[in-house]
Symmetry: C2
Subunit: 363 residues, 2 copies
Amino acid sequence: MRVKLIGHLQQAYPPRLRRRLLEVMAPAATRTEELCALHAAVGDCFAETAARAVQELFGDRRRPEVIGSHGQTICHLPPRRAAGTSRSFVGATLQIGDPARIARRTRVTTVADFRQADIAAAGQGAPLVPWTDHVLFTNAKRCRAIQNIGGIANVTYLPAAGRPDDVIAFDSGPGNMVIDEFVRHFTKGRRQFDDGGRRARRGRVVEPVLRAWVRHPFLRRRPPKTAGREEFGRTFVQQALRSADASTVRPDDWIATATALTAQSIADAYRRFLPTRGRQPVLDELIVTGGGARNATLLGMLADALPAIAIQPIDEFGIPDAAKEAVSFAMLALACLDRVPANLPRVTGAQGPVILGAITPAP
Amino acid sequence: MRVKLIGHLQQAYPPRLRRRLLEVMAPAATRTEELCALHAAVGDCFAETAARAVQELFGDRRRPEVIGSHGQTICHLPPRRAAGTSRSFVGATLQIGDPARIARRTRVTTVADFRQADIAAAGQGAPLVPWTDHVLFTNAKRCRAIQNIGGIANVTYLPAAGRPDDVIAFDSGPGNMVIDEFVRHFTKGRRQFDDGGRRARRGRVVEPVLRAWVRHPFLRRRPPKTAGREEFGRTFVQQALRSADASTVRPDDWIATATALTAQSIADAYRRFLPTRGRQPVLDELIVTGGGARNATLLGMLADALPAIAIQPIDEFGIPDAAKEAVSFAMLALACLDRVPANLPRVTGAQGPVILGAITPAP
């Protein structure tokens, strides 16, 4: 599969639809009728944006072959988590946003429900982008890692000339989550993130705090593993602020230390869980994506922690960061039409490779 | 499309799963996690039965090309009904029972979500069997009607050598619903239906009551139209029992009169809404399906009301009544793979013909 991005378009939910969605998301309770109505309403919202994109990129005379629609996840219960409930021992996942409405509006075959087949094969149903990372970025000569730094940081490792089976992918630990939480705390919610890493640059990393943080059990656990707010959310930050010497640490120092935690935990994860030569990971290029890729202080710390590795933003590979997810799901949609398995069992924990997605034919 | 039934298998929900489903069905409220878990649990239940059927009918060495899975409807809001709510002006429908689990278990491509495309095209998403009735039963020389007598009675009219556009289908009125409700009332719930029509045969039709009933506004309304418990459920029966001369009517007379209502309303519907010659419908053969086809008294009354029309149970056409729905959705699944539109816009009210279903490829 060869990929060329011809354009992308992003559209936020209308505020009222967004509120309705937040109200039904697990662990919420809801009326079944509201879920049913939202399935159609979200589908119409997606359909409208897809129709605009098709019109802008293809005009009146041509159509794309396929649209991929991830859908809006309203509940995701991978096997491990579901096993802890009394109700069910199998995994389950539910995305809404009726693809029939997208196919109807755009007159384009639409693939959706990408996570179900992996879950049915006892996988976690996530992450799904490692396969697209493999197709997009595997290089014949150079070992690469795609490091996404969102709330949580996750890495896809692509050995030189590697096959799908050779891909390693897991959550390395916190991305921006701890940094953002400190910023929100110190600005009383007026700021959501450390723009460009400016506050971290003014601060000073508190080494004893950092040394304690990097001993977090999640960071030592072997992959496959996924992190969330349970590990690095508000509780983590509030515990830090309550610690003995907290009063002597200035706000910018906390932010700098949180930034160092992200950089350090990424570098540590590479040394622990990727192939190494000497004590360094076998890695030539690091491609960074996500909001963290716009944090210059974080990137500087990462460069210090991983000497001799070229760090580049994904944009230099012809894919703007903002388009990465859309590119991935367009690729997954085509893989479904071509009946190419696109889960990576070693990454998701599935029992084997499966074809992802359900195809709604254009009417 | 040529159809040959090679076997069928029916399996009831396990009681606990059935209870969980009844608890979430609209207009119920529920937890989003429970709906998500049920999507998987119902999928596994379907998958197990499908796997048994595949094993019994195909053995170890062969597989069918496709499985059709209607799914369990937990909410159906066709456009007209949704227009009456403040939340949404579009139709919506939600079936659960993850087809990825059926495809996984059986290793067979599975088509599901048949109603969405018709709803997206502003149709009612129902009924869908008129197209399969057309494919199965349209005859070059004889005009036929397929009269299903379930709770509600619905008819598909197939003119001789007709095309899909020529098909007429609508709910004619009550099927067994009024009869069953009287039986439940008089037996205090110990009996659910009039087995073979034995009680109706012992009773006497109360003509003034029947004359009042057949003036019900639903019966006079032009198709397309659909009936439900709102029209012919418990309320209808309780009003009848409260009427002035009710005390002089014996239980079996009520049951006989309810049976006559079904027969009469079917015959009236044909004279009103099907093509007629003189005052009789242009109809050579009437093929009856559903529980009502096993009510001899009802069939006798229907024969009296429709002289010169041959009435035959569907079983004589090689399709046991119990297999009819399964045959229909197998056909609809194949139509989806072949990209054949299978809604009938004249029947569902959709803006045009659309391909029904979403295809989950075998893994």
